[in-house]
């Protein structure tokens, strides 16, 4: 499996550590009324789709950036790769 790193070009997936569903970027608000339930869901429940999946890959054996990779779990085809930082900013996680 090759991951087309936005800065480094195509890299072997073996250089990366897989960190799961990219929805993990959206940590719940600890002050919310139902924070306990939200954190349980965040920590333990997953969509686990068969088909397109947005997921976090950490370039541990490379530039140590975090990526959001869109990949088809039924074929392993990678269709989009972005820096997680850009995705997080776009989705309002940080300034």
């Amino acid at each position: 499996m090759l991951i087309n790193h936005p800065l480094l070009g195509p890299r072997d997936a073996a250089e990366f550590t897989y960190m799961g569903d990219a929805n993990l970027l959206h940590r719940p608000d600890w002050e919310a009324e139902d924070a306990l339930q939200q954190f349980t869901d965040y920590g333990y429940l997953r969509d686990n789709p068969a088909g397109l999946h947005r997921e976090l890959w950490f370039h541990e054996g490379g530039d140590r950036s975090w990526l959001v990779v869109t990949r088809d779990t039924t074929t392993h085809e990678v269709t989009a790769v972005e820096l997680a930082r850009d995705v997080a900013r776009r989705e309002g996680r940080s300034e």
Binding site: M1, D12, A13, A14, Y18, G20, D21, L36, Q37, T40, D41, G43, Y44, L45, R46, D47, N48, P49, A50, H53, E55, R71, T73, T74, T75, H76
Partner: protein
């Protein structure tokens, strides 16, 4: 009802093998049942068998989207053992190993249960301490465990490289009652046993939805029409999230691919199951002579039933580190199966919040050994609506109550279990 025996084999041999007949029926689905089991893998078929045999239930159907035995029950590396540490697990797996020991007589079916023993190798002092603790936990739960010295290991397995510079072998924890079983025969044996007790095994019947109204499940939609039932029991291993999604549930499960490998057939060289303790590699020899081996899951979500090359390399490196002789064998086949990796590495066997809908899954890479007990305790839950004494910890709510059963102490990272 046909019974297998030595006499029958001789009789059929002399009469041209014309009297065998089908091993189970191929019935049309009825419009309603008392209990529907979704998934004709080892666990689903065992559940149906024990429901009919032990719990006296009637009007049971197993719905399988493909053919029975086409899932992980026919793809695994066939190892059985009960060498777990934690209280939530060990009594259950030991119950399973005891059921394996009587399975063939119970089913009148040769499943080639072979208690050739399993050896977990030790490579460091810390690992020895951990294995001694595990061995003691096993013995406390009525299982067998035996700590072997390097000298004993060398005598039994002279081909092991005990002096690998990085991973010297410092001993091992053996469970002599562990071993291997012919995996397909487990599916077929349970199918035949269940069929003879009146269970309808319906193949090519995919469940596509649930009939749920006011929080009560009253049946399923399938590719062969609507089928009503008082109780619906999901048992679909790697497809758990896809099936339960149709009931509006999200699960503490990720699906991952695990690969397995088999070499060309060799003369007997490997007497038991051996696992490498410094990397992840395990190996046994099948009765046909192939070395059957595997290692880690690939580590990313997958439903593809095939893996990638980095894991192949990693597994083979692990193998070469302890069994230099492996390098002389040629690889015959490799394949992958989809694992229902749970958040703590342990299974779930529980009711759901929907009345009449039950769930069994989260078996990770280790559900084959659990097949008899999984079926037995799931049947208990379905028949009595309360958990079997060996399976009380396998609850859905253990995650929000902080009662994880995390054998490896890895936390909620499914690809690390």
């Amino acid at each position: 009802m046909m019974r297998y025996s030595g006499f029958k084999v001789i009789k059929e041999a002399l009469t041209g093998h014309r009297g065998w007949g089908a091993t189970w029926r191929d019935p049309e689905p009825k419009s309603d049942y008392d209990i529907i089991i979704i998934g004709g893998g080892g666990h689903g078929l065992a559940t149906a068998y024990y429901l009919a045999k032990v719990y006296g239930q009637k009007r049971i159907a197993v719905l399988e989207k493909g053919w029975i035995g086409g899932g992980n029950v026919g793809r695994n590396t066939t190892i059985i053992r009960s060498n777990y540490l934690l209280d939530g697990n060990e009594p259950f797996y030991e119950f399973s190993l005891k059921l394996w020991e009587g399975l063939e007589q119970d089913l009148n079916y040769n499943a080639m249960v072979s208690q050739r023993g399993i050896l977990n190798l030790i490579h460091t002092d810390a690992q020895r301490d951990a294995f001694i603790r595990r061995g003691n936990a096993m013995i406390l739960n009525g299982a067998d465990a035996d700590l072997l010295t390097t000298k004993q290991i060398k005598e039994r397995y002279p081909f092991l490289n005990t002096n690998n510079a990085r991973f010297p072998i410092k001993g091992g924890l053996a469970q002599h009652r562990g071993g291997t079983v012919r995996h397909d025969a487990v599916a077929w044996g349970y199918a035949r046993g269940a069929d003879q007790l009146g269970v309808d095994i319906i193949q090519n019947c995919e469940v596509t939805g649930f009939l749920i109204e006011n929080g009560v499940c009253s049946g399923v939609e399938t590719s062969r029409g609507t089928i009503k039932a008082k109780k619906v029991a999901s048992c679909v291993a790697g497809s758990s999230s896809r099936v339960m999604e149709k009931a509006g549930m999200r699960l503490p499960i990720e699906s991952h691919v695990l690969q397995a490998f088999v070499s060309e057939g060799l003369k007997p060289v490997l007497p038991g199951v051996i696992t490498f303790g410094a990397g992840h590699f395990y190996c046994s020899q099948s009765d046909k002579g192939g070395l059957v081996f595997g290692g880690d899951i690939d580590g990313y979500n997958s439903y593809a039933q095939r893996g990638n090359l980095p894991v192949v390399e990693d597994v083979c490196e692990g193998g070469m580190a302890i069994f230099p002789m492996l390098g002389r064998a040629r690889l015959l086949r490799m394949w992958g199966g989809i694992m229902d990796m749970s958040m703590d590495g342990s299974p779930i066997i529980d009711r759901t919040h929907i009345e009449g809908l039950y769930f069994n899954g989260g078996w990770c890479y280790g559900g084959f050994k659990a097949t008899p007990a999984s079926g037995y305790v799931y049947a208990h839950l379905l028949a009595r609506d309360e958990p079997h004494p060996t399976a009380t910890a396998y609850r859905f709510d253990r995650f929000n109550r902080g009662l994880m059963i995390d054998e490896k102490g890895m936390g909620n990272q499914p690809n690390l279990h």
